[in-house]
C-alpha cells in the first residue's frame, strides 16, 4: 500500500476526498444512497435499574469482543465506527460543572448534549455554538456552559483523525422546572431546531450525537475496543449507568464519517431496512397529522421527521424517537414499527396479540428488513428482532443481575 502512504491525511485530504465523492456521485455510477453498513450491537442492563460502574465496564468489555464484526481500513486503525450509549452519571457531571466555576443546581434536572463541531474552521465552530446556545435559551433553559470532552487521539487511524470533529458537551439545567417528559420533549425540539438552523446557515459540521436529561452517547470512528481509550470519561470511576447499549459498525464506505457511527439517540440497529423508500414516503404523509397533535406549536420545527439523506438506521431512529416523544413507550413503538408476522403463524397467537398487530397494521406500515435493535427511551431498555428473526441475537442473565444481550 505504498500509494496510500504517500497520501497526507489532513484537512486538504478531507476536502479533496469529499469533492471526489461528490463528483463521482454526480458523474459516475456511484450513488451515496447505496452505502450500506451492518454491525455488531448489544446491550447491558441492570435488572434492578440501579446504576453502577460494572454495567459500564461490561459494555466496554463487550465492545472489545465484537471487533471482528467491524472492518478496519487500510491504515489498520480507522474503524467504521463504534459507540456506547449510557445514562448520564450526575455526580460526574456535577464535578465537571463545579470545575467551570458554577455550583450545580442539584434540585433541577440536568441535561447534557454531546455535540460534534467543525474542528479546524474556528469561525464555523463559534457559529455552531451560538446556534446551539440560542436555541436552548429560546426554549427558556439555563446553560452552565460548554465542556471540552477530553480525547486521546493516539488510538485513531490517520484518516479518522483527519475527519475528527471537535467534540464538546453542553450542560443545561431545567430552570423552567418542567417535568422530565416535557424536558425531554423540548430538548428534542431544541435539537431539531438546531439542526435546521445549521442547515440554513450552510454549516455541515454540526451534529448532536445526543441531547437528553437521561442518557448520553459517546461514539466515533475508532475500533470498538478503542472507544474507552479515545474517551477517557468512560474510564472514570464516577461514570456509572444502569444500562449500556453498544454498537460496532461495518460499512462498505471507506471514508470516515463520524456522525454515521451508532448508537443513534434512541436505538442501535444492526441490519437493513429494505423498505426505507416506501416508509419515508408514507411518513411524509403521516407526519402532517402526527406532528400537529403532539407538538402543537412546535410541529413545524420537527418536520420533516426523517431528514433528507438519512441512513436506514437513522431514519428508523427518527421515527422511533417521534413516537416515543409523543408518549408511546419504547416497547409499543417497537411493536408498531417492527411487528411480528402475525397473520399466518402455525401456532395461533393469542387473540389479544392478533388484535394488537392487526391494529398496528391498520395504522402503520412495518419497517421491514433484517434487524436487530437495541433501544431505550430512558425508562425502558429493550432489544428486539425483525419479523423474520433473521439476525442472530442472544441474551444471558448473569448471577449479579445484569442482562447482557449480543445481537
Amino acid at each position: 500500500m505504498t500509494k496510500l502512504d504517500a497520501v497526507k491525511y489532513d484537512a486538504d485530504w478531507v476536502r479533496a476526498e469529499e469533492a471526489k465523492r461528490k463528483w463521482m456521485a454526480e458523474n459516475g455510477l456511484y450513488t451515496e444512497d447505496e452505502e450500506h453498513s451492518s454491525c455488531g450491537v448489544g446491550l447491558v442492563v441492570a435488572v434492578n435499574g440501579k446504576s453502577s460502574r460494572s454495567v459500564v465496564e461490561a459494555g466496554i468489555n463487550a465492545l472489545k469482543a465484537i471487533w471482528h464484526r467491524g472492518a478496519v481500513d487500510a491504515d489498520g486503525k480507522t474503524g467504521d465506527g463504534a459507540g456506547i450509549h449510557v445514562q448520564i452519571p450526575a455526580p460526574f457531571f456535577y464535578d465537571q460543572i463545579r470545575r467551570t466555576g458554577h455550583e450545580p443546581r442539584e434540585d433541577q434536572l440536568m441535561a447534557v448534549g454531546q455535540v460534534f463541531l467543525p474542528r479546524t474552521d474556528f469561525g464555523a465552530q463559534e457559529t455552531c455554538r451560538t446556534i446551539v446556545e440560542s436555541e436552548v435559551l429560546r426554549m427558556g433553559y439555563y446553560i452552565y456552559g460548554w465542556r471540552h470532552v477530553p480525547v486521546d487521539v493516539t488510538c485513531l487511524g490517520e484518516k479518522a483523525n483527519a475527519t475528527r470533529p471537535e467534540i464538546e458537551q453542553i450542560l443545561i439545567s431545567n430552570s423552567k422546572g418542567v417535568d422530565e417528559e416535557t424536558f425531554e420533549r423540548e430538548l428534542y425540539v431544541i435539537r431539531r431546531r438546531v439542526e435546521k438552523a445549521a442547515a440554513a446557515a450552510g454549516i455541515g459540521g454540526l451534529y448532536i450525537a445526543s441531547l437528553s436529561c437521561r442518557s448520553i452517547i459517546y461514539k466515533g470512528m475508532m475500533l470498538a475496543e478503542q472507544v474507552a481509550v479515545f474517551y477517557p470519561d468512560l474510564m472514570d470511576e464516577r461514570f456509572e449507568s444502569a444500562f449500556a447499549i453498544y454498537h460496532q459498525r461495518y460499512s462498505t464506505n471507506t471514508f470516515p464519517q463520524w456522525w454515521l457511527a451508532q448508537p443513534f439517540r434512541m436505538l442501535a440497529h444492526n441490519g437493513e431496512i429494505n423498505t426505507l423508500r416506501g416508509n419515508t414516503n408514507w411518513m411524509k404523509s403521516h407526519e402532517i397529522r402526527m406532528a400537529s397533535s403532539t407538538f402543537g406549536d412546535y410541529a413545524e420545527d420537527i418536520k420533516p421527521i426523517i431528514a433528507g439523506g438519512s441512513s436506514d438506521s437513522a431514519a428508523l431512529d427518527s421515527v422511533f424517537e417521534v413516537l416515543v416523544r409523543a408518549g408511546r413507550s419504547a416497547p409499543m413503538a417497537k411493536t408498531m414499527l417492527v411487528p411480528e408476522s402475525w397473520s399466518k403463524q402455525a401456532v395461533e397467537l393469542p387473540q389479544a396479540w392478533r388484535d394488537m398487530y392487526s391494529y398496528c397494521n391498520s395504522v402503520m406500515e412495518p419497517w421491514d428488513g433484517p434487524a436487530a435493535l437495541a433501544m431505550t427511551d430512558g425508562r425502558w431498555v429493550c432489544a428486539g428482532l425483525d419479523r423474520n428473526g433473521l439476525r442472530p441475537m442472544r441474551y444471558v442473565v448473569t448471577g449479579d443481575g445484569l442482562v447482557i444481550a449480543r445481537l
Binding site: 500500500m1 451492518s38 416508509n279 411524509k284 402526527m290 389479544a352 391498520s362 428473526g389
Partner: protein, 1081 residues
C-alpha cells in the same frame, strides 16, 4: 428499568396488548376477502373490440400463450431458461411496455432474500383501503378501513369491492386525446383531478385507462399511477385515500409489482381477464372464468411475493409506493418528476418519447385495417419479432468456426454479431485508438490472453456430466479456469485422466445449497467462489427436480436419487457483510492457499457492496450481468431483475478505485460476452478476467432451444437423460478453439489500437466513446457515467498473480503446531486449550491438513485427534471438520457450529460447575451444521435458529432448537430432546428427525408440506434413535438424556419420527408396520 424488572417477550406483549381495547377497534375492520371470493367473474370487452384493445395495449400471441395462459392453467408463473439476449427496452425498435424499463431490486450480501415459498408465514399481501388516520392517536377511528388478502382484484370483484367502500369514490380517466393536448398535459390534469377529489373528501381514487377508444389514447398506467401517487405524497395527501388502478397493459407479476411499487393500492388487470374469457370461449382454456381468474390471482400473488422476497421485503404495505426498482433508459428529468427517489443513471425515453410510442401502438390497434395480434418474439426468437443476439445463423457460424478451427469463420461470426441492431449499452460505444497501431507480433501472446478466460459456474445438474467435464478439460489445457458450479464434483476428477487431461475444475463454487461442499472438495482447487447471486434470477433460490437427480448427482450432492433438491435464496450464513467476511475467513482456513471469489450480480449499489466485499478480504470479485444463465428461472426473473454487466462492472470499478481498494481485488465479469470486441470493452471498463458461458455451450452443440428446465435438451448439453446425453457432440477441442478465437480477436484489436498487452487497456474507460445516442424519440441516452475515470486510477497496478489477501490466524496455528505427530505420522493425540469467542473457525485449518495428508476416507478413529476446549468458542466452531478430528467444548459456542461438517465429531457441553439447566439454555448459536455432509454433533443444550439447515449427512443430538429447524435438510439424522421453534422442517426433502414431544406440541410447529410423522415403532429406527441418545449421554453427560434413557420403555412413546414424503419410497425399512401410517401419494 425504572421498575427494576426484566420483562420477557411474552410478558411485554401481554401487557401491551391488554393496555388498550385493540380487540374492539379491530372489530371495525371490514375484511371483504370472503365477500369477494363468492362473486362470478365476467369479461368487460369481447370480440372485435377486445382485439383492438389487445393490440393497442401491446399484447402478442406469445404473451397470451406463454405467459398469461400458463398462469391461469397452473396457478404458477412460467419457467424459462438460457437468459435474455434481447435488446434493452430503451434500445428496442419494437413497442415495449413501460414496465420493461424497470429492473427489480434484489438483495445480495448486505441482507438476505426470503424464501417466499417455504417461509410463507412471514409474508403478507394484506392490503388496506381508506383514509389512514393519525398514527399517534389511539382510538377506533384508525381501524375503520377495508382490508383484502391480495392487491389483485378481478373484474366482477372490482364492482363488488367499490360497494363496500366506506367513503366517496372518484374515478379519473387516464386516457388522452393527442389532438387536444399532450401526454404531459394529461398527466397534469389527472394530478389536479386527484388532488381536488381528495381535498373534497374522496377516500378512494380509481385510475383507469378503460375509456380509451379510437381517438383517446391510454396512458401508460405505470406513469399515471406514479404521477398521482408522487403528487399526493408531495402534498401530504396520500394517506387520505386509496389509489386503485385498472390497467389494460398489465399481465404479468412484474407489471403488477411496478404498479404497486408506484403506489397502487389494488390493481385490476381487466384486459388480461377479458383475454382469458376469450380463450375460454374459443376452447383454448378449460374451466370457468371464475376458476381461471382465481388461479391467475394465485400466480400473481406468488409472483408478487417472490419479487418482494428477493429484496427481503415480506409485507406489501411496506413495499407499496417504495419504487424498489432501478430504471434503465428512462429520462432522468422524468424520473425526478414522476418517480422521485428511483435510481435512473442512464437517461433515455421521456414523456414525449413515451407519447410517441403510445400513439404508435394505439394506432395499430384502433386505426389499422387488419388488427391481428402480432406473434411476439420477446421470449423466444421469431423472425418478425424482437431482435435476439443468438439466432440460427450466428449460432451456426460459431459452431462451424469451432468445429473446423476456422478463425475466418469466427471473424464472419463476429462481424455478424456487430451488424445486429443495438442490443446492449456497449453497442452504442466504440473503441478509440491509444496511438498508432503496432505489429501483432509485439502484442501479448494468445496463450497469455487465454488465461484470463473462465467458464462460469454451471452446475452438474444443469449441465450433463459430459458437458461439465468437457469444459473443465478444455480450460485446464490452456491454463484458463473452469468453475464447477454448485453441486459438487466427482472425486474421480481429482486424479488426471489416462491421457493426462485434468478433469477437475480450478474454481469450486460454494452456493447457498452447499451441495457436495466437503473439506476435500474445498481443498481441490485454486479458487473458491461464493455465489451470492446469479444473473438469471438474482435473489432467488433454485430447485433441482427429482427427475434430474440421477445416481451420480445424488452421490455428489450427498442426497437420494429422485428426491428434489432445494437451494435456498440466501446463504444462511450470510445475512450481512460481516457474515460474508466470516465465510471468507472459514474458506481461507480450510484451504490455506486458494483465493476467494465473490460472485455478485450487477445492480445499482453493487459498487459499494464490492467495496465491502474487498474489505472482507475477498481476492476476486465477479460481476455478473443480468442476462446470463442456463438455469431454469421464472420468465419475469430472467427478463426484469439485475442490470447489464456494463453498468455493474463500471460501478464496482469506480467505487473500488475511489476507495483505494481496487488493487486489492481482481475484477471479473460475465453475462453475454460474445466477441473479442466485447472482451476489450469489458477490459476498458475495468474487468481483468472474462467469463464465457452461453458461447461455450453453443460451441459444445447447444442450439438455444431454451428448454433446459424440462430435461429434454435435444443435444445432450443440459440434460441428465441417458438417451439424450448420448447425442452430445461437444469436445474439449471445440471449447479450446472458441477461447482461442476470442483471444486472437482481442489480440488483433489490441494491435490495431496500439496496445501491447491487456494490462495497458484495463480500466481505460477513456478509450471508449459514445457513437450513437439511440432512437430519435429519446430525450438523451447519455452513457457518460460509464466512461469517467476516477482520480488516481492511472496508478493502479493490475496484478492477477499477487498473493491472496491474508487473514489472521486462529487457535489452529497452535493446534497444528502441537499436533505435528498426528499430522505427520497419524499418532493418536489429545490436546487441551482455553478458548474465547474471538477464536473463530477452530479446527478448520487442522482439517485442511488432515484431508491434504490423509484424505477424506482416512482410517482414523473418530477421536484420533481430540482437542479439548474450555470457554466460549467463536463463530464457525469445527467448520468443515474432517474425519479423525474431535472437538470437545466445555462451555458454549457461537453461530455456525459444524458448518459444512465433513466427518469430524463435535461435542459441546456446559462446564461441570454451571448451575444452569442445560436443556433450557442455548449452548450453540444459529445456523448449526449448515451444509454438513458427514460427522456427529452432540450439544447438551438448545440450538438457535435454523438448526441443521441444509444438513445432508451429519447425525446430531441437541436438546431443543429455535425457528426453522432442519430446513431444506436432505440427509442425516437429527434428534431433538426438547421443544422446537416454528416452521420446523420447511423444504426438508431427506434425512430423518426425531422429536421428543411428551406434550404433543411439536406437530403444530411444523411445516408439514413435505413431511409425514409417526411414532417410532419399527425396531430399526428405534435402535438408531436409542443409540444416538446413548452416545449423547456418554459424550456430554446430559441429564436430560439420562432421564429419558432411564425410562426408555415409557419415553420412547414420546418421540415423534419425522420423515420427508419423498423419502418414503427410498427407505430400507418401513416407518410403520401398519399400512395406515404412511399416507398414499
Amino acid at each position: 428499568m425504572k421498575k427494576g424488572k426484566l420483562f420477557h417477550d411474552t410478558q411485554i406483549k401481554n401487557k401491551l396488548a391488554a393496555a388498550l381495547p385493540f380487540g374492539e377497534w379491530v372489530g371495525k375492520i371490514n375484511d371483504v376477502e370472503q365477500t369477494l371470493s363468492t362473486v362470478t367473474e365476467a369479461a368487460m370487452f369481447s370480440g372485435e373490440e377486445l382485439r383492438r384493445r389487445q393490440v393497442a395495449a401491446g399484447y402478442t400471441i406469445e404473451e397470451l400463450e406463454q405467459i398469461l395462459s400458463p398462469m391461469a392453467e397452473e396457478g404458477k408463473e412460467t419457467l424459462a431458461s438460457m437468459g435474455d439476449d434481447t435488446p434493452s427496452a430503451v434500445l428496442s425498435k419494437m413497442y415495449r411496455p413501460l414496465s420493461h424499463f424497470f429492473r427489480q431490486n434484489f438483495s445480495q450480501v448486505t441482507n438476505p432474500p426470503i424464501d417466499s415459498l417455504r417461509e410463507f408465514r412471514v409474508m403478507s399481501l394484506k392490503t388496506r383501503f381508506g383514509n389512514l388516520k393519525n398514527v399517534l392517536e389511539e382510538n377506533s377511528s384508525q381501524t375503520e378501513i377495508v382490508v383484502l388478502e391480495s392487491p389483485f382484484v378481478g373484474n366482477a370483484q372490482w364492482d363488488k369491492l367499490v360497494t363496500e367502500f366506506n367513503a366517496p369514490l372518484a374515478e379519473i380517466d387516464c386516457s388522452f386525446d393527442p389532438a387536444k393536448g399532450s401526454l404531459s398535459q394529461a398527466l397534469e390534469r389527472i394530478r389536479a383531478e386527484a388532488e381536488d377529489a381528495v381535498r373534497s373528501g374522496a377516500g378512494h381514487l380509481v385510475l383507469t385507462d378503460q375509456y380509451s377508444d379510437a381517438t383517446r389514447v391510454a396512458m401508460p398506467m405505470i406513469l399515471a399511477t406514479s404521477a398521482v401517487h408522487s403528487h399526493l405524497t408531495r402534498k401530504g395527501l396520500r394517506t387520505f385515500s386509496s389509489l386503485n388502478v385498472r390497467s389494460a397493459e398489465c399481465i404479468d407479476p412484474h407489471y403488477f409489482a411496478v404498479l404497486i411499487g408506484c403506489g397502487a393500492t389494488v390493481v385490476n388487470a381487466y384486459l388480461a381477464e377479458d383475454s382469458l374469457a376469450d380463450r375460454i370461449d374459443r376452447g383454448l382454456l378449460d374451466g370457468s372464468l371464475t376458476e381461471n381468474v382465481a388461479r391467475y390471482r394465485e400466480a400473481i400473488d406468488q409472483g408478487l411475493l417472490k419479487i418482494m422476497a428477493k429484496m427481503g421485503i415480506s409485507v406489501i404495505s411496506s413495499y407499496r409506493g417504495g419504487l424498489n426498482f432501478e430504471a434503465v433508459g428512462l429520462s432522468r428529468a422524468m424520473c425526478a418528476e414522476f418517480f422521485p427517489g428511483m435510481t435512473s443513471r442512464i437517461s433515455g425515453i421521456g414523456v414525449s418519447g413515451i407519447q410517441v410510442k403510445a400513439e404508435e401502438i394505439h394506432a395499430k390497434g384502433w386505426n389499422a385495417a387488419d388488427n391481428i395480434l402480432p406473434i411476439g418474439g420477446f421470449y423466444k426468437a421469431r423472425t418478425s419479432g424482437e431482435t435476439h443476439a443468438w439466432e440460427a445463423t450466428s449460432m451456426h457460424m460459431l459452431q462451424m468456426a469451432c468445429n473446423t478451427a476456422s478463425f475466418e469463420m469466427w471473424k464472419r461470426y463476429s462481424a455478424k454479431m456487430q451488424s445486429n441492431p443495438p442490443i446492449h449499452l456497449r453497442d452504442l460505444l466504440d473503441i478509440k485508438p491509444m496511438g498508432k497501431s503496432v505489429p501483432i507480433e509485439e502484442v501479448e501472446s494468445i496463450t497469455s490472453i487465454r488465461k484470463r478466460f473462465v467458464t462460469p459456474g454451471m452446475s452438474l445438474g444443469a449441465l450433463s456430466p459430459e458437458a461439465h467435464k468437457t469444459l473443465n478439460v478444455a480450460m485446464n489445457r490452456i491454463g484458463a479456469k473452469s468453475d464447477s458450479g454448485e453441486g459438487g464434483e466427482d472425486p474421480a476428477h481429482f486424479v488426471p485422466e489416462p491421457n493426462g487431461d485434468n478433469p477437475s475444475a480450478k474454481i469450486k463454487q460454494v452456493a447457498s445449497g452447499r451441495f457436495g461442499v466437503t473439506a476435500e472438495y474445498l481443498n481441490q482447487c485454486e479458487e473458491l467462489e461464493i455465489k451470492v447471486a446469479q444473473g438469471a434470477k438474482p435473489g432467488e433460490g433454485g430447485q433441482l427436480p427429482g427427475m434430474k437427480v440421477t445416481d451420480l448427482i445424488a452421490r455428489l450432492r450427498h442426497s437420494t436419487k429422485g428426491v428434489t433438491l432445494i437451494s435456498p435464496p440466501p446463504h444462511h450464513d450470510i445475512y450481512s457483510i460481516e457474515d460474508l467476511a466470516q465465510l471468507i475467513y472459514d474458506l481461507k482456513q480450510i484451504n490455506p492457499r486458494c483465493k476467494v471469489t465473490v460472485k455478485l450480480v450487477a445492480a445499482s449499489g453493487v459498487g459499494t457492496i464490492a467495496a465491502g466485499v474487498a474489505k472482507a478480504k475477498a481476492d476476486v470479485i465477479l460481476i455478473s450481468g443480468h442476462n446470463g444463465g442456463t438455469g431454469a428461472s421464472p420468465a419475469t426473473s430472467i427478463k426484469y431483475a439485475g442490470l447489464p454487466w456494463e453498468m455493474g462492472l463500471t460501478e464496482a470499478h469506480q467505487v473500488l478505485a475511489m476507495n483505494n481498494l481496487r488493487e486489492r481485488v481482481t475484477l471479473r465479469t460475465d453475462g453475454g460476452l460474445r466477441t473479442g470486441r466485447d472482451i476489450v470493452m469489458a477490459a476498458m471498463l475495468g474487468a481483468e478476467e472474462y467469463g464465457i458461458g452461453t458461447a461455450a455451450l453453443i460451441a459444445m452443440g447447444c442450439i438455444m432451444v431454451r428448454q433446459c428446465q424440462s430435461n429434454t435438451c435435444p443435444v445432450g448439453v443440459c440434460t441428465q437423460d441417458e438417451a439424450l446425453r448420448g447425442k452430445f457432440t461437444g469436445n474439449a477441442d471445440k471449447v479450446v478453439n472458441l477461447i482461442t478465437f476470442y483471444a486472437q480477436e482481442v489480440r488483433e484489436i489490441l494491435a490495431s489500437i496500439g496496445a501491447r498487452s491487456m494490462d495497458e487497456v484495463i480500466g481505460r474507460a477513456d478509450l471508449l466513446a459514445q457513437v450513437s445516442r439511440g432512437s430519435a424519440h429519446l430525450d438523451d441516452l447519455d452513457l457518460n457515467p460509464l466512461l469517467i475515470t476516477v482520480d488516481g486510477a492511472a496508478e493502479i497496478v493490475y496484478n492477477r498473480d499477487k498473493e491472496r489477501n491474508a487473514v489472521p490466524d486462529t487457535l489452529d496455528s497452535e493446534i497444528v503446531r502441537d499436533a505435528a505427530r498426528f499430522l505427520q505420522d497419524g499418532e493418536k493425540m489429545q490436546l487441551s486449550y482455553a478458548v474465547q469467542n474471538t477464536h473463530r473457525s477452530v479446527g478448520t485449518r487442522t482439517s485442511s491438513h488432515i484431508v491434504r495428508n490423509f484424505g477424506m476416507r482416512n482410517a482414523f478413529q473418530p477421536d484420533h485427534l481430540t482437542v479439548k476446549l474450555q470457554g466460549s468458542a467463536g463463530q464457525s466452531l469445527g467448520a468443515f471438520a474432517a474425519p479423525g478430528l474431535k472437538l470437545e467444548v466445555s462451555g458454549d459456542a457461537n453461530d455456525y457450529v459444524g458448518k459444512g461438517l465433513s466427518g469430524g465429531t463435535i461435542v459441546v457441553r456446559p462446564p461441570m460447575a454451571s448451575p444452569l439447566k442445560a436443556s433450557e439454555n442455548t449452548i450453540v448459536g444459529n445456523t448449526v451444521l449448515y451444509g454438513a455432509t458427514d460427522g456427529y454433533l452432540f450439544a447438551a443444550g438448545r440450538a438457535g435458529e435454523r438448526f441443521a439447515v441444509r444438513n445432508s449427512g451429519a447425525s446430531v443430538v441437541v436438546e431443543g432448537c429455535g425457528a426453522c429447524g432442519c430446513e431444506y435438510m436432505t440427509g442425516g439424522v437429527a434428534v431433538i430432546l426438547g421443544s422446537i421453534g416454528a416452521d420446523f422442517g420447511a423444504g426438508m426433502t431427506g434425512g430423518m428427525a426425531y422429536l421428543y414431544d411428551p406434550e404433543g406440541k411439536a406437530q403444530t410447529m411444523m411445516n408439514m408440506e413435505s413431511l409425514v410423522t409417526c411414532p417410532v415403532t419399527v425396531e430399526h429406527w428405534n435402535t438408531q434413535l436409542k443409540t444416538l441418545i446413548e452416545r449423547h449421554l456418554e459424550e456430554t453427560g446430559s441429564r436430560k438424556a439420562a432421564e429419558i434413557l432411564q425410562n426408555w420403555d415409557l419415553e420412547q412413546g414420546n418421540f415423534l419420527q419425522v420423515c420427508p414424503i419423498e423419502m418414503l419410497q427410498n427407505l430400507k425399512y418401513p416407518l410403520s408396520h401398519e399400512k395406515t401410517a404412511v399416507p398414499a401419494e
